[in-house]
Symmetry: D2
Subunit: 90 residues, 4 copies
């Protein structure tokens, strides 16, 4: 992940927000809030997690596939993408 400092900070901020969203689920479970509320919190976490994953994938496509150091590095980066996609689209 040899990305710019700017991207790194932005991604870490998204992970922090996700942790905050999980803490809201913890509190909702402790307070025995209705299932429907908890399911909605979980659905919004899923959305945020997918948004983060999409961003890392796009960074990866641009940094390591498009601007690869050489053809060998590019082939490895494409292989990594393929493996990840297989877990999402199956």
């Amino acid at each position: 992940m040899s990305h710019t400092i700017r991207q790194k900070k932005k991604l870490i901020a998204r992970v922090s927000r996700l942790k905050g969203q999980l803490e809201a689920v913890e509190r909702a479970l402790e307070a025995e809030r209705p299932c429907g509320d908890i399911l909605q919190l979980l659905a919004s976490i899923r959305g945020a997690l997918n948004g983060l994953t999409g961003e890392v994938l796009e960074d990866h496509l641009h940094e390591h596939v498009l601007h690869a150091a050489d053809e060998k590095a590019r082939a490895e980066a494409v292989e990594e993408i393929s493996q990840v996609l297989r877990t999402y689209i199956r």
Copy 2:
């Protein structure tokens, strides 16, 4: 979420593990670990989040749909399930 104490503890423990997994992503980003590693961490978080969601959905189906207090409560619980499913299957 009027579930048993046992279920509640189990679900909270799963949320804690998810937070731990997110902290591993934070550390991986800080350490500028390879994109492929980060994508794999994110994919495993997705799996764990979906597992937790599936568990809450099943609890909901059993507690609030199957063993609903009355027909009105059952109809509301079915409506909640429908709304959640629409965000997952679209």
Copy 3:
């Protein structure tokens, strides 16, 4: 699937449209159209398939869970739903 004739016709019409969309993919592959076009056709088929699945699931929830003949039938219908959800949310 003891649903009304009206629902049955509507669902069969959706399946026919899906077949038409697959035939468009066939023609696009035969004509060696750009990958990007084919991926977009496939993404729209996925959307249509998920829409159809969501409709069958909702029918199922209403006919066989909410308006079940008896508690045994309701428990079976809930079990069927749980199994299907596990294949979508994993």
Copy 4:
């Protein structure tokens, strides 16, 4: 989609099988088979569709990203992949 004839035939064969699976859904709806059966048929179609999509994506990554004619073509192919991924991971 300037792929080999071999790949093209293989992909078209997969689309044909998908059409066959949709026809099974049509027959199941006509015969008013249980909802659970129809949901299982739909889940297997989803699996087959995702398998086909994964294959087209991998072909695309190899043909148009890895072995792109030039940097401009590669950038366009990466852009197409990004757009498609955003519809799957959201």
